[in-house]
Structure formats: C-alpha cells, structure tokens
C-alpha cells in the first residue's frame, strides 16, 4: 500500500470525516435525549432548567414499575429456557446426523428472519384461536399475559442462542472430544469437562443476546400481552402513542443505561472467547454474514 499519492490521502481523510459524521448521527439523538430528561420544562424538547422531577415521577408510577417487573420476569425465564433448548439443539445439529435434521435446521432459522409484525400476528392468532387446543394438550389455563409473552419470547430466542452456540461449536476442535473418549471418559464426562468449558463463552453470549432481545421486544409482546400484564417497552410504546411527556425521556434514559450494562457484559464475554473471527461474535450481523460458509459446508456434506 503506497500512501505517497495525494488522492489516496485525501480519500482517507474524507472517509475519516465521514466516519465522524456517522458517529455524530449515531450518538447526537441519544445525547440530546439524556440532556432533556433533566429539563424542567413541561414541553418535551424545551430546556427549562435542571430537574430530577421526571425520574421521580417515573419511580412513583406504579404501572411503569409493574411493567418493569413483568419485563424482567419474562426475560429471565425466556433466557434460561432458550439457553437450555438452544444449546441442546446446537449440539445436536453440529455433532450428530439424524432424521429430520435439515427440517429442524430450517425451522430454527425462520424465527430469526421473519419480520416482527408477522411473528406477532402469528402468535396473536395462535393464542386467540389455538389456545383451547394448547390448554387441553398441556393441561393448563393460558390467560393472555406473562405466560403467553414468555412462550413467544422463548420461540424466537432459541434460534438466536442456537446460532451463537453453533458458531462456537464449529470453531472447536472435535479431536479434543475424541481424545477424552479415547481416554475412557464417559459421554457425560466428555461433555461436562471438555465440551461445556469450551462452548461456555458461546452459551453466555447466546444467553445475553436472548436477554437483550427479550427486554427489547415491543411488537411480539404487544400482540401477546393481555390486560394487566404488559412489558416495559409495550407500556412505553403506548405512552408515546398517547402523547409524549418528559417522563418518557427519563424512562428512555433508564432503558438506555440498562442496555449499556448489557453491552458491557457482552464485551466481557466476548473477550473470553478465542480470537477466531474478526467481527465480535456478539454481533448477529457478523454471524449472519458467516452463515453461507456453514450452508455451503452442509450442502457439500449431504
């Protein structure tokens, strides 16, 4: 690479400025949101002196705090369930050939690529019409609310966990497992002492992704929530539709800070992983772009 020629240097500088503008575009709205959440003026977006009133109002709003509880409840259950189911399916897909494997693989990818609205509608109709069938099958009584939201969240979180764990598994040396078995480790011991420690960062990353997606979701939750049980984003969305108040600013800032905490956790997990790919594997986009390699490999195999 020669940097002698001036046009190249100019090009580089232009790209640098462009990158700066993109970052301003990314961060200016968030910065302004944070500033205005401390504004004393009743009109959103007008500066009226520093105040913490909106945070206080947020804290004293029972419906808001209730919806936070619902959100956390849903997210925790959905994360645990999808980590178990997603990891198992990743292991099955990466390590075994079995009947119906390709159908299962396709079924796992669909929830990732289907638009939110479609998935939301699907669950809405399912819980509205098919609910009697599920009730009689599972012997429970499903009222629209925390249960239905959680069930829908698990349905899309499994896929994301599975993709992350699979990426990790495919980068792992299978000979380590073979070596363990050659040394008379049982299947369970091999899993517990060889496979699991190796894929743990992937499992943790998948879990954090599931947690974030569940906490983030507006559309699917909106269609599966019932009276009395809404998640925080659904409640905030309904507030925004009714009309913006400065209190929404403060709620948004709290949600933003929560996201930051999750990102910090994500980056820590990411550092624990081996430096296999150049794009942090906590980025779904990076995984999706790596998918063709996996797809091509499978086509060649079968």
């Amino acid at each position: 690479m020669s940097s002698r020629t001036t046009p190249r240097r100019v090009g580089r500088r232009i790209m640098g400025v462009h990158a700066g503008v993109v970052f301003a575009f990314f961060y200016a709205p968030i910065a302004i949101l944070i500033v205005f959440s401390f504004s004393g003026d009743r009109i959103v977006g007008q500066w009226g002196g520093f105040t913490l009133d909106w945070y206080r109002e947020f804290w004293n709003n029972d419906q808001l705090t209730n919806s936070i509880t619902v959100s956390l409840q849903v997210a925790l259950i959905a994360t645990v369930a999808s980590v178990v189911l997603g990891t198992l399916s990743a292991l099955a897909l990466e390590r075994f050939r079995f009947r119906g494997r390709r159908v299962f693989d396709a079924l796992l990818y669909l929830p990732i690529i289907i638009p939110d609205v479609t998935m939301g509608i699907m669950m809405l109709v399912f819980f509205a019409e098919g609910i009697d069938i599920v009730d009689s099958l599972l012997g429970i009584n499903l009222a629209k609310g925390v249960t239905t939201i959680t069930l829908s969240h698990i349905a899309f979180c499994i896929s994301f966990v599975s993709v992350v764990v699979r990426a990790r598994l495919s980068g792992m040396d299978e000979r380590l497992e073979e070596a363990a078995m050659d040394l008379y480790a049982t299947r369970w011991q091999t899993f517990r002492y060889v496979t699991l420690p190796q894929i743990l960062p992937g499992v943790a990353g998948g879990g954090l992704l599931a947690l974030t997606l569940s906490l983030d979701d507006v559309v699917i939750s909106q269609f599966t929530s019932g009276p009395g049980a809404t998640t925080l984003p659904v409640y905030v969305f309904s507030l925004i539709r009714k009309g913006v108040t400065p209190m929404i600013n403060s709620v948004s800032v709290v949600m933003f800070v929560a996201s930051l905490v999750l990102i910090a956790a994500m980056l820590t997990v990411d550092r624990l992983r081996s430096t296999g790919s150049s794009v942090p594997s906590a980025v779904p986009g990076g995984e999706l772009s790596a998918e063709p390699a996996v797809g091509g490999h499978e086509r060649g195999d079968t």
Partner: protein, 306 residues
C-alpha cells in the same frame, strides 16, 4: 440425558475386530442418530408447537372467509383475500412500503460502505473502538432509539432551534416520510456496516496492490477489485436492512405518526380495528414470501461466493 449416557457405553468402546464389521458401523450410526434426535427433540417440539403451528394457522387463515361480524369462517376456501391485493388502495400501501424499504437500503449502503472500508484501513486499536461504538446503538433499545428522534425532530425541538439559529428557518420533519426514513436508517445502519466490514476485511490485500501495480487507478481498483469481492457483504447487509424495513411497524408509528399507511401497520389494522383476519393473513403471507425469497437469494449468492 442419563439413559443415553449409560446404554451406548459398551458400544462406544468396541474391540477393534467389531469396529470393522459393517453391521456394527450401521448400529453405531443409528445410535448417533437417535442421540442427536433426542437432544434436538425438546427444541424441535417447542418450535413446532409455538412456531410452525402458528405459522400454518396464518397461512390457512389467508384462504378463509371473513364473516359479517368480523369473525373468520374456515368453511369454503377461496382466494378472495389475495384478490384484494389488486385493489388500488392495497397496491398503494405495498408500493409505498417497498419504495421506503428500498430507499432505506440504498441510503444505508451508501453511508455504510465508506465507513466500513475506513474501518479496514485504520489501526487495530481504532478499529476495535469503532466496532464497539457501532455496536452500542445496535444493542440499545429499539424503542429508545426511535423515541430519541421523535424528541429531536419535534416542532420547536432541538433540531428546529438549531436550524433557526443558523438561518435555515424552522424545520418540521416529524410525521413525514423523511422522518420515517431517518428513523429506519438510524435503526438498521449497524446491520449494514457489520457484514460489509466483515467482507471487506476478508479481501486479500495483495489483490489490491496487484491491481495498483498494473496501473489501475484508484476508482478502477475499487470498481473492478474491491467492490466485486465485497459483494457477499453488500448482499447480506442489504437483506438485513431491507427485510425489517419492509415489515417496520414501530418506526412509522412513532416518527410517521401513522399518517403514511405502511405494510406493517396495515397488517396490524386488519387484526385490530378492521377485524379482517383472512385479509391480514394474506398480507402477512405476502410479506413472508418476500422475506423468504430474499433469504434464499442470499444463501444462493453466499453459496457461490464463499
């Protein structure tokens, strides 16, 4: 878990003689197949009940009839809901959504490409910082990001006062098409940057040098070498932006004020106030078909390139 651990153990450590027989191998393959299915089964069953069945119900509903009271009658299948797609009003919604999604994708591509390229030529430290700075908005709550623009664009709000002070007059962008496009670009730009960066970064740098050595100009090198080699990233990013933009529901509602009816909110209306489940279902099927076609195209392309 434990059943599978204990029972096949004796077959797992076979005497070397037994390993050679085809019958033993077949048995081992069958055992592995059983084990795989057993592990996949919980997720498999879950996804069939809570994904495949709802999916199938929506497809079935798209062929059903709406009763006069807004219910859905499954007797007598027909294509009436699909016929309605030809109506002017519906076509307008479809074209408008398609146009907005394409516009969003193009803007994201134009903005993200130089950005992603720049990421590949800076130092490793700068690159890591840039990656993290791209990831933060990506992980930030979707609703918060859209709401931030609602605040920024509000009439008499921060942006408006800035343009007023520098003498551009008041801007009133909120609840316009422009606001929706800004919101969509803002929401999905990281989806474009990350795959683009991944594919540009993978390009063998000696190819670029070779092209320069052979007296290709900078723009020729870009058009003939860099761009073709980064096509997988371009396609991946475009699909990752296009599909969610086409089905967007929250952004048009918050920033468009629901003024411009788009596919996402139009579908929701059918299941809400309009109570026309079959028509809403047929619109969802159209959206899913577009999405599946795009994804299959992406895998085909990826299969050829990687």
């Amino acid at each position: 878990m434990t059943n599978t651990d204990t029972s096949p153990d004796d077959t797992d450590q076979p005497p070397p003689v037994a390993a050679a027989t085809p019958a033993f191998e077949a048995a081992a393959i069958r055992a592995a197949s059983r084990r795989g299915l057993f592990m996949a089964l919980p997720a498999y069953v879950y996804l069939v009940i809570f994904f495949a069945v709802p999916f199938a119900i929506v497809v079935v509903y798209s062929f059903a009839t709406r009763t006069r009271t807004g219910g859905t009658s499954l007797s007598g299948w027909n294509l009436n809901s699909y016929r309605r797609l030809g109506e002017q009003i519906v076509r307008d919604v479809l074209w408008r959504s398609l146009g907005l999604a394409i516009l969003t994708t193009i803007i994201c591509l134009v903005v993200a490409y130089p950005f992603a390229y720049y990421m590949t030529i800076v130092s490793a430290t700068t690159r890591n910082v840039m990656l993290i700075l791209v990831m933060i908005p990506f992980w930030t709550n979707f609703l918060v990001r859209n709401y931030a623009w609602r605040l920024l664009l509000s009439s008499g709000g921060p942006l408006s006062s800035v343009t007023e002070t520098i003498g551009l007059g008041e801007t009133d962008l909120l609840f316009t098409k422009t606001a929706v496009v800004i919101g969509l670009v803002y929401s999905f730009l990281p989806f474009m940057i990350l795959p683009l960066y991944a594919s540009i970064e993978r390009i063998d740098h000696s190819l670029i040098e070779a092209s320069r050595d052979l007296y290709a100009s900078g723009s020729q090198t870009f058009r003939r070498v860099v761009l073709p080699l980064s096509m997988p990233g371009v396609i991946a990013g475009s699909i990752l932006v296009f599909v969610p933009s086409l089905g967007a529901y929250v952004t048009p509602d918050i920033l468009g004020g629901g003024k411009e009816v788009l596919l996402g909110s139009y579908i929701v209306t059918q299941f809400g106030t309009a109570r026309n489940f079959p028509f809403g279902a047929s619109l969802s099927v159209v959206l899913m078909v577009v999405m599946l076609t795009a994804t299959v195209a992406y895998f085909r392309q990826g299969g050829r390139n990687l």
